[in-house]
Symmetry: C2
Subunit: 552 residues, 2 copies
């Protein structure tokens, strides 16, 4: 293909890898996502860099680990000066366009300190995480209409859904048989139909907005990466008809948990189990209300993607658009006696990742399932490569997936790493953990998953003998487990010691470092002869003898 | 004292801690620096964060470890967005003024990307490492006159030293008995008198410029930290008369080295010994030429400081000025078969540090010698405290030394850490070490000095039984040494895992993180009753029932 392809980067929010039929869900059929996998590569070991929205996304958008970009939890501003995918693409004449959610908070203090007006072109770019925001919607706060009335709020009102808080009253609420409007922020209301017709739901709306962008982009020669970022199936768990009653108790898979797990006395694990959301999702009736809604939201998303892909075919866009589909993290749904996310079991830290590359070079891998260890930070360098942006190894920590997509050699990773800052949480409060020590790090080699817990013993799972991660080997005296823990700690130290803030080390800077003696900085030379031996040229003193060197 | 004190922060360049009489040099008498120690606190275990100018200084000026600020070697630009001492002081209404060297290289690419004009007020501040540059002089390049003609070059010409490269021809050269002008970039010329009278030398000039600043500052109400940063006794090793022949072979202390050390087969240590500068300084005749000049430069510095302190007394400045004296790293001078710096033996990584605080609170500690482990990054928070700037624990990694200066409780450090990036070096070339793996880290607990060498076994010294660091225990099978190495690796991992890029975590941001449910983000609540139990207030749905929730 002569022109570089465009990239449609679709991200779902809080979607478990195993709630798609191509990843093995027995009752939830997602034919459109499955079809994408059939024409691309489905990654079976894709891990996010933090099991929570904000830091996971900041890693996705920077191509860097959380310990590098420093935005360690939701609402932690991304420091000024941290380069993003959008910045790299822009430098190469390509566009990085946002349609949906980023969860990014700008570093207002840093912008003020460097004199960058928030409303200036650069200020807006910084505030939008390097993206060109065709449409931004973090859809998160029940009172977001007051804080930042969104284009979707406008849309609802324009379509007759009048309210001073449309997102909350229509998208996030349901009406019970008695006609009472009830909030989906309470789990008991999850199985009501959302108070909005499906065609006017956020998922449908954001799908249409992506079409609007792609239509407009036809009049622009620049290659683009469009980040279509849905806010679902993230809580509040509620979905419009007919999806709200497509699934019921009979479609709910058994929770993955054991009594031994419940009895694990690791203080941090115990604190996680004691958190309200964990106690809540450990109750069967909560799962029976939430999971059908969660499944409905995913089914609705799949149908909208089907609509989107069909439209792209009709518009002739499919043949030159790489389509990537993933999620920012998963959802425990009561597995392991836990709720929401924030830890490292597979359903929380492993995500679905499918990339369909229309280029002939990718024909050999269509329908392949890849079990290489890959990370969310690998997408940025992959997309940079696709649209013709030079690699930036001094900044980007992810690895280009193109060799996998094209069935060639060149990709390898020994360890996947994920991090979490829980200083904000009930766990930190219960354990009285100082905020600088309230953090964990996961390192996984494809078999052994080692979790370092500052201030506590580590957690260790062997996914070969215990794929469900029910047995914590973090304190096992078995020599093999002792050896594995030592190896994982050493690997974590090697990773943590690696240069990661040295982002000004451009090839030019590195080359310049090696040429001190070329500019006359001579260290350790005794005399002219010694210099000439090393330099292979006569010593030319910069100080010619003569009157010039005598004071007038 | 009602008004906050000012701070005169004096830094020598490449000054070994043990080349001052107050630190025990038998022949080099430095009465003025000794007198400063007598009226202040002399630190006996002060360590720099990298044993080389650039990164050591960037740590000093940011109060952060090298792994945090990312300027890992000389000439590695300090990334845009990395806050400096000057930025913090300015925010508190105080001044951070530079007189001399910083070795800082600005991140031109980052400034352009964020639209900061280099000549703008903010651009200049960024380029000067956050300082207000009363005078900057990195005095480093033999051809610096061409690159950036300095105010000192102007000064020399104005005083009759005409040349198109005055710094090089006068300050850095000597004239031999035959009247030939010879470059001090060649070590054989070290014992010639510099081709400039002492009163016009850089050391004298920069001392005068500090006086100029302090005189001007009297008309300004803002408290200040003045960084008087000398470029000596750093190479080129040459000093004006009469200092050039004050010392000779009889004043040279024996090199600290052993045959066992020379035979150490650690590949990295061997590569260090094989580097040209090490081979050069391992020769007696090189030490016999360089060390007397090095001693003369230090003696000259001490005399100039005597002149400066006497002038401050006369001007009434001493009574309200905290004076700190230190160095950015040491110099091997042939010890351990090594030259220059770049590794972690005491004479390279340990520096002199003396702080004299005129406030009555410090009367109790005058003349004290402190053997607490302190780091160069501790100066920034100490100076911030002195001039009334709030602490910034989310950014600053150093620890306030005020409790030590005032003889109160509150300071503690278990480990000092230093780092080095040698990708630019002969060692990396000889070992074919990839540039991302060419790094080492030192961690020292006051007794055990452990050096992690990426790709090689560690180096370990026991300074209790081997204060001269002649015996490398990095491969010792002794159970005690095995245990110490494991403990040091674990401590290094704890340090490396600590939040260090999370610099946007202001107290406000951290407080905001904990209040999700206050803004209606309810995670895991089943019903109103459960919410009310936890929240202690009735559940107020944001979605009142009624017509507003019906589509018009």
């Amino acid at each position: 293909m002569s022109t570089p392809p465009n990239v449609l980067w679709i991200m779902a929010d809080q979607l478990r890898f195993d709630y798609l039929s191509c990843y093995g869900h027995p009752h939830l059929h997602t034919p459109h996502i499955d079809a994408l996998a059939a024409r691309g590569v489905r990654f079976d070991k894709a891990y996010v860099q933090s099991p929570v929205c904000g830091p996971s996304r900041m890693s996705a958008y920077t191509g860097r680990y959380v310990r590098s970009h420093g935005s360690t939890w939701n609402g932690m501003p991304l420091r000024i000066g941290e380069p993003t995918l959008g910045d790299h693409l822009r430098g190469a004449g390509a566009r990085a366009v946002l349609v949906g959610k980023t969860h990014m908070v700008a570093d207002a203090e840093g912008m003020a300190w460097l004199g960058i007006p928030p409303e200036s072109e650069i200020g807006v770019r910084v505030r939008e995480c390097g993206f060109e925001a065709f449409e931004r919607d973090d859809g998160l706060h029940p009172d977001s209409a007051k804080q930042n009335w969104s284009a979707y709020d406008d849309y609802l009102v324009a379509h007759g859904f009048e309210s001073d808080n449309p997102w909350e009253e229509f998208a996030n609420s349901g009406i019970d048989p008695d006609g009472e409007l009830l909030s989906a922020w309470l789990l008991k209301n999850s199985r009501l139909a959302a108070n909005v017709p499906e065609e006017h739901s956020e998922t449908a709306y954001m799908t249409n907005r992506a079409m609007d962008f792609m239509r407009e982009a036809k009049d622009d020669d620049r290659p683009w990466v469009c980040h279509l970022s849905y806010i679902k199936p993230h809580w509040p768990y509620i979905v419009p008809a007919p999806y709200h009653d497509m699934y019921n108790e009979r479609h709910i898979v058994e929770p993955i948990r054991s009594q031994a797990e419940f009895d694990n006395d690791h203080p941090l694990m115990a604190a996680y189990r004691e958190a309200r959301v964990s106690r809540s999702f450990s109750r069967d009736h909560v799962r029976e209300h939430v999971i059908p809604a969660y499944m409905g939201l995913i089914k609705q998303l799949d149908d909208n993607l089907g609509r989107l892909f069909a439209w792209m075919d009709d518009e002739g866009l499919s043949e030159n658009t790489i389509v990537a589909f993933t999620s920012d993290h998963g959802d425990y749904m009561g597995d392991h006696w836990l709720g929401d996310k924030d830890f490292y079991h597979e359903m929380a830290v492993k995500v679905p990742l499918i990339i369909a590359d229309p280029r002939p070079e990718a024909d050999a891998t269509r329908g392949h399932v890849c079990d290489e260890l890959v990370e969310m930070i690998d997408l940025a360098p992959t997309f940079m490569n696709a649209v013709g942006c030079e690699a930036k190894p001094h900044i980007i920590e992810g690895r280009d997936l193109t060799p996998i997509l094209h069935g060639t050699e060149g990709f390898s990773r020994r360890y996947a790493i994920s991090e979490h800052d829980y200083n904000w949480s009930e766990m930190a409060a219960a354990l009285k953990q100082p905020q600088f020590d309230a953090h964990t790090k996961m390192i996984f080699d494809g078999r052994w998953k080692f979790i370092r817990c500052e201030g506590f013993r580590p957690v260790l799972f062997d996914l070969e003998t215990d794929p469900q991660e029910l047995v914590d080997l973090g304190a096992s005296p078995e020599p093999e487990h002792v050896e594995v823990r030592a190896r994982m700690e050493a690997a974590l130290l090697e990773w943590a010691s690696r240069h990661h803030t040295r982002i000004t080390a451009t090839p030019q800077v590195l080359a310049g470092q090696k040429s001190a003696s070329d500019v006359g900085i001579l260290i350790g030379f005794w005399d002219e002869e010694e210099y000439e031996e090393v330099a292979g040229k006569p010593f030319a003193s910069l100080t010619p003898a003569g009157p010039a060197s005598r004071r007038k």
